[in-house]
Every structure is written in C-alpha cells, then in structure tokens.
C-alpha cells in the first residue's frame, strides 16, 4: 500500500535532487530548473498531505506554489535575458565582478 510516507519520501528525494542541482549546476538556466524541481517536490508533499488530512488547504498551497513558481520563472527569465544580452553568457562563474 502506498501511504503518505512514500509520497513524502519521494518528495524529499526530489527536493534533494533539486537542491543538489542548485548546488552543482553552473548554468543559470539549469539552476532555475533545479529550483522549479524543488518547488514541485513541495507540491507533491502538499498534495499528499492534503489528501492525508482530507483538507483542502494543502492543495491550495500547492496551487499558490505553482502560481508563484510560474511568476518566478517569468521574472527570472526576464532577468536572464537582459543578463545574457549584456554578458553573452549564462555561466555562473563569470558572474563574479562583485566580491569580497
């Protein structure tokens, strides 16, 4: 029987994968994807918990997360585009003019 804990474990796994992605990726676009992965892991958790409690709040939260993820991507991509125009690259390692 697939129970809540399975969902949560999956969610945690995906969250970790996303986290590792955020930490390891050098390309900004990939990095954004990784954060999306993390948010989606949260969504899985919310959906599962919501079902578990038989309470709609979790699903509501999940919807908000989706909406916010979408707008985040919109803003993020916007910034990335101008950045790309200016720098010609999306490599993280080149983004180090400010430091110290």
């Amino acid at each position: 029987m697939i129970g809540l804990s399975h969902y949560l474990i999956v969610s945690a796994l995906i969250f970790s994968i996303g986290l590792v992605g955020v930490l390891r990726r050098r390309n900004l676009l990939m990095l954004f994807f990784a954060t999306e992965v993390m948010l989606n892991a949260v969504n899985i958790a919310f959906a599962a918990i919501s079902h578990y409690y038989n309470d709609l709040t979790g699903q509501m939260f999940a919807f908000f997360v989706i909406a916010i993820a979408a707008s985040e991507v919109a803003v993020g991509l916007g910034i990335l585009i101008v950045l790309y125009k200016k720098q010609g690259s999306l490599d993280l390692d080149e983004l180090t003019t400010m430091k110290g």
Binding site: L23, L92, D93, L95, T96, T97, M98, K99, G100
Partner: protein, 631 residues
C-alpha cells in the same frame, strides 16, 4: 610678640619676593643690600623673641590660619617659638644675615646676582618655617622648601656642562642639585611615613598633641615612627648612606655652602631629632642606632677628608663629620649638647666656608689646595678667620668647638659606650689633622699658585667685617655653655654627667685635647713647609679608597642609577611598547586579519553562495541537534 614672630618669619620671605622682582634684570647692588637689611630685621626680631623667651620662660604660640582640613585631619599654619626653635631661629638668621652681606661681595661679578638673593632669602624663609612650625606638617613644608632652595642654589650655575667624574667628582652643578634633591626625597618618604604613623595613631600632627599621646602608644609604633622620622633626618643631614649629595653640593656658590650645607639646612635632621625628643627618648634602641650611625659617619667622613684636595670638599666632609657628632649626642640623649654643638658648629663652619670663599675668590675659583700655598701674605684676614675657625673645629680650648665637642665625647664616655667614645676621640684627632692640613696647604709654604698665573687678592673690606660676628662667636660661644644649658633645658631634658665621668672629666678632656693637638702638629709637620707629595702614598689602596670616597658614588652610579636607567628603558621599549601596546594592537590586528580571512567566503560566485546556504542549513541542523541533546 605675635608681630615679632611674623616679622622674623616673613622678613626673609619679603626679601625673597623683592629680589625676585629683579630676578631677570641685571645686577643691582641695592637688591643685596635690602635683602641683607630684611634679614637683619628678621635677626633682630629673633633676638627679641629669644630675649622674651629667656625672660618669661614661656613660648610664643600662634596659629596663623588653617591649611589642610579633610576628614579628621586638621593642619593649621601654626608657629611656636620656644627655647629650641628660638635658638635655631637665631642661629639661622644670624648666619644668613652674615652670608647675605658676604654674598654682596662674593657674587659681585655674577650676572645672576639678584636671582641669587631671591633664592637665598627664600631658603631662609623655608628654614624659618621648618624650625618655627608647631606641627609636623609645617615642619615638612619647611623641610621640602629648604630642599628646593638647596636644589636651586646648588644648581645656581646651571649653565656649566656635565663633565666626567674624573674631571669633576660632582659632574656638574645641575647634576649635583638633582642628586641632592632626589636623595633628600628618598629620605622625605621616610619622614612622610613617620607623619602617617603619627597621624593614624594620635589623630593629630601638632607637636603638643603628639607628645602628650606618646605614653599611650605601643613600643612598636613608637619605634617605627622614630625610625621613619630618622630616615627623614638622615637625608637632610646627609647621614650614611645618603651622604654623597653633600660633597657634591659644593658645586653651589660658596655662601650657599656656608649657609645651607654647613650651618643650617643640613642640621635640620639634628633639629628634628631634638624637636621630637619625647619620641626618641622613649625609643632607646632607635636612639642608640642614631648615636652609632652618627659616630660612624663622624669617623667615616673625617677619613675621607684626610686625603681630599678640594678645599670645599674637605670642609664639607668635616661638616658631615660634625653632623655625626651631633647625632651621636642626640642619640645618646644629650639633646641640649647636640643643639649647642649645632649652634657652635654653625658659627665656625660658616666662618670656615666663607673663608674658603675668600680663597676661591682670590684664586679665581681654583679649589685644589695642592695648587695653593703661601696665601697668608696676600690674605691675612682670611687666614686669621680660617685659622680661628679651624681651631674651633679641631676643638682647641677655649674656642667654641672645644666646649661643644668635648661635651659630646664626654657624653659618649658617660653612657658607657666606649666604642663610640674611642671612635669619636680618634675622629677628633683626624678633624684637627685635616683642618690644619688644609689651612697649612692653603696659607703656608711655597706659593704654588704662581705656576698658574694667579694673582690673589684679599676680599672686600665690608665682607671681612661682616664675617667678624661669626669669628667672635666661634671664639666666645663656648663660654655660654652653661647658660645655654639652663635656657634650653626648660624644654629639653637636662643631661648631667655622672659622678664618675665628672671625676674623669679633666682626664677625658686632656685625651681629646692631646689628639687634637697631635693632629695639628702632624699637619704642621707634613704641610707647613710646603707640599711634599709621595707617589707611594698616593697610589696606596687606602689613599685611593679615601680619595674616591670609598667608591660609594661610583657604586651608586653602577648599581642604582645605571640599572634604573636601563630598567626604565627596558620597561618602556620592552614592556610598554612590546608587550602591553603590542597586545592591544595585536587584538585590533587580529580582528582586522580575521576580517581579511572571513571576507574570502564572499567569493562573488553565486554557486559558492548557494553552497553556503546549504551549509548554513546543515549547520543549523547540527547546532539544533547539539543544543537539543545538551538541553
């Protein structure tokens, strides 16, 4: 009577201020004249007071105003003119009047003439405060005041450069002045401690209150107080081991040496012991120590005088030696004898110094007696004065020194302290020898000064006249011994020789006399015909030891001054800068460097930042775990 007290006290002060007004202007003879006049006023007032005290047998006590009042401590400016202080006042004002007049002549060519009188009168004022005060704090004011004036006067010719110890044993006037001041300060600390002990056990610093309380105090307190006060006396009176400053103080002008370093200031220590006799008389151990130290210094100083070639230093050593006598007397309980010797010594020693001043004046500041000789032709009067003074010093009857010194030696016998007696007798012989060695080398024999192209001339007439009171007193003072005894023993405990001593008095006197005459004869034999120097003697260990003052100044230099300077330097560069300050700066630098280290985490690379966030999360988890486990 009150006004007389104020006149006696403040006339020198006015004189000092008056002279100070002209301190920076060129030489003005009237400054000296007015200063001398004011001193004479002070002398007259002192004499009147003496007469008054003599007549009524009562002391005059006045309180001028409050000085310090804090907590339970109450110190007024109070003055007490009693038999002891009036004696001192007269001695001080008399000698200072003479010295003031003398200085008009002696300092004739000095451009700082006016300044000199200002200092000199200030000294007299301080000395008057010292002797007249009715409390320990007032005494201490005077005590320090004379110290400063002594500093100013020793260093009067401050412009002279520092020389090596070989060229000039005192290095320079300013060096000698500082040495004197600092050594005195060491002793002053002892004195202050004495004051503190007295205050906290008696609750007052007034003499009468303190003396009244003495019976209620324990022996330990009394002894420590006595020791502490005596340490003070040791500094001012240049007792071993604080004696080196006195000979170096001869760098000052000769009138200064006469007044301060022979007649008055250096006797302040003796005065202190006499003044505080109720305390010292109940602490026999301390008193005995004083007597022993006094005897030792008498001998010790005399031994150094034997070989010295410096006219003034010889006299200085003799002063030291005589101070030893005074302490011996005071320590043995013969306070009035000590006071009597103090007065008598003041007269003939001042005379001797002033005579030496004449010689110096004539010899263009040359002080080496080996370079003099045969001065009697050109300086008859001075010769007579110095001869008289030396006779008095040597203790030849009927001059003053005989009566006073003989009494001291007799006291030593009377107390059964034979070792002291023997030493004092031997010292008497040595005194006679060195005094006349100096007199003969200066005035008799061949005229060695001619090699140096010096044409000696006698001092001004008025100066010689001015010196005459001292000469007269040096001759006749001794006759007043008994009346003096009667006068001061109103206040001081009497001292009578025992029957046994009384019987032997003549024999004892004869022994001393024999030693004195022996000394003079020896000196006559060796030096009257001129200087015969013997390489062998001069190179002998003893001679060199004595000539170098037992190497004590060198010792002080090597083991105190230099190490102090070295440690100071080390404290500054080694400790203050290297340790204390570097620690402070080190903390600051450490913070700064750790800032440099920490900012490396701020690589600017987003990936690192994200890693930091993850690490932070883990870190939080770890801290949480730890604190959860501990808590």
């Amino acid at each position: 009577m009150e006004s007389l007290v104020y006149i006696a006290l403040f006339a020198p002060f006015v004189s000092s201020l008056f002279a100070a007004l002209f301190g920076m202007s060129p030489r003005k003879t009237f400054v000296g004249a007015i200063a001398s006049l004011l001193l004479f006023v002070s002398l007259s007032a002192s004499m009147m007071l003496a007469y008054h005290v003599y007549q009524t047998g009562e002391s005059v006590h006045i309180t001028m105003m409050d000085w310090i009042h804090m907590g339970d401590l109450y110190i007024p400016f109070g003055f007490n003119v009693d038999q002891v202080s009036v004696t001192m006042m007269n001695v001080v004002t008399l000698v200072s009047t003479v010295v003031h007049i003398y200085s008009i002549g002696y300092m004739d060519h000095d451009k700082s003439f006016n300044r000199f009188f200002s200092y000199l009168s200030a000294f007299v004022f301080s000395m008057m405060v010292l002797v007249m005060s009715d409390n320990f704090a007032g005494l201490f004011i005077g005590w320090e005041g004379v110290g400063v004036c002594s500093w100013l006067l020793i260093g009067f010719w401050y412009h002279k450069p520092d020389l090596t110890r070989e060229e000039n044993p005192s290095i320079s006037p300013s060096w000698a002045a500082n040495e004197a001041f600092i050594m005195n300060r060491i002793a002053d600390l002892g004195m202050l401690i004495g004051l503190f002990i007295i205050y906290w056990n008696v609750g007052s610093l007034q003499y009468d209150a303190v003396f009244a309380a003495i019976p209620h105090l324990t022996d330990v307190i009394l002894s420590t107080a006595a020791i502490a006060l005596f340490i003070g006396a040791m500094g001012k009176s240049a007792q071993f081991p604080l004696h080196t400053w006195l000979t170096d103080a001869m760098e000052g002008p000769t009138p200064v040496s006469a007044l301060i370093h022979a007649a008055t200031m250096v006797t302040a220590g003796v005065f202190l012991v006499i003044r505080v006799h109720p305390l010292f008389s109940v602490t026999p151990e301390v008193s005995y120590f004083i007597a022993a130290l006094g005897t030792f210094v008498a001998f010790f100083a005399a031994s150094m005088a034997l070989v010295n070639r410096d006219l003034k230093r010889i006299i200085a050593f003799s002063t030291l030696s005589q101070l030893g006598y005074m302490f011996a007397a005071a320590g043995l309980g013969a306070y009035w004898i000590a006071l009597f010797h103090l007065a008598a010594h003041a007269f003939f020693k001042a005379l001797l110094f002033l005579g030496a001043g004449n010689v110096m004046h004539a010899m263009h500041d040359e002080l080496d007696i080996f370079k003099m000789g045969g001065l009697k032709k050109s300086m008859k009067a001075t010769y007579i004065y110095m001869g008289l003074a030396s006779l008095a010093l040597a203790g030849i009857p009927p001059l003053a020194g005989f009566f006073s010194k003989d009494a001291i030696i007799e006291t030593a016998f009377n107390e059964g302290t034979l070792i002291l007696w023997v030493m004092l007798v031997v010292t008497a012989g040595m005194t006679a020898f060195y005094s006349f060695r100096q007199v003969f080398l200066t005035f008799e024999g061949d005229e060695r000064y001619k090699e140096f192209g010096i044409h000696p001339h006698e001092m001004y007439k008025f100066v010689l006249v001015a010196m005459s009171p001292l000469a007269i007193l040096a001759v006749i003072a001794g006759f007043f011994r008994e009346s003096f005894n009667a006068f001061v023993t109103h206040l001081l405990p009497g001292y009578e020789m025992s029957e046994h001593t009384h019987h032997l008095a003549l024999i004892l006197g004869a022994i001393v006399f024999a030693f004195a005459v022996g000394g003079i004869l020896l000196a006559y034999k060796k030096y009257a015909k001129g200087l015969k120097r013997s390489e062998k003697v001069e190179n002998s260990f003893i001679y060199r030891l004595l000539a170098n003052q037992y190497y004590i100044p060198n010792l002080y230099e090597e083991f105190i001054s230099k190490p102090y300077a070295m440690i100071s330097e080390m404290m500054w560069k080694g400790v203050d800068l290297k340790i204390v300050d570097t620690t402070v700066d080190g903390i600051a630098k450490f913070l700064y460097r750790s800032g440099d280290g920490t900012r490396k985490m701020q690589t600017g690379n987003l990936s690192n930042y994200l890693n930091w966030m993850a690490i932070g999360g883990v870190l939080l988890l770890v801290v949480a775990m730890i604190s959860a486990m501990i808590g």
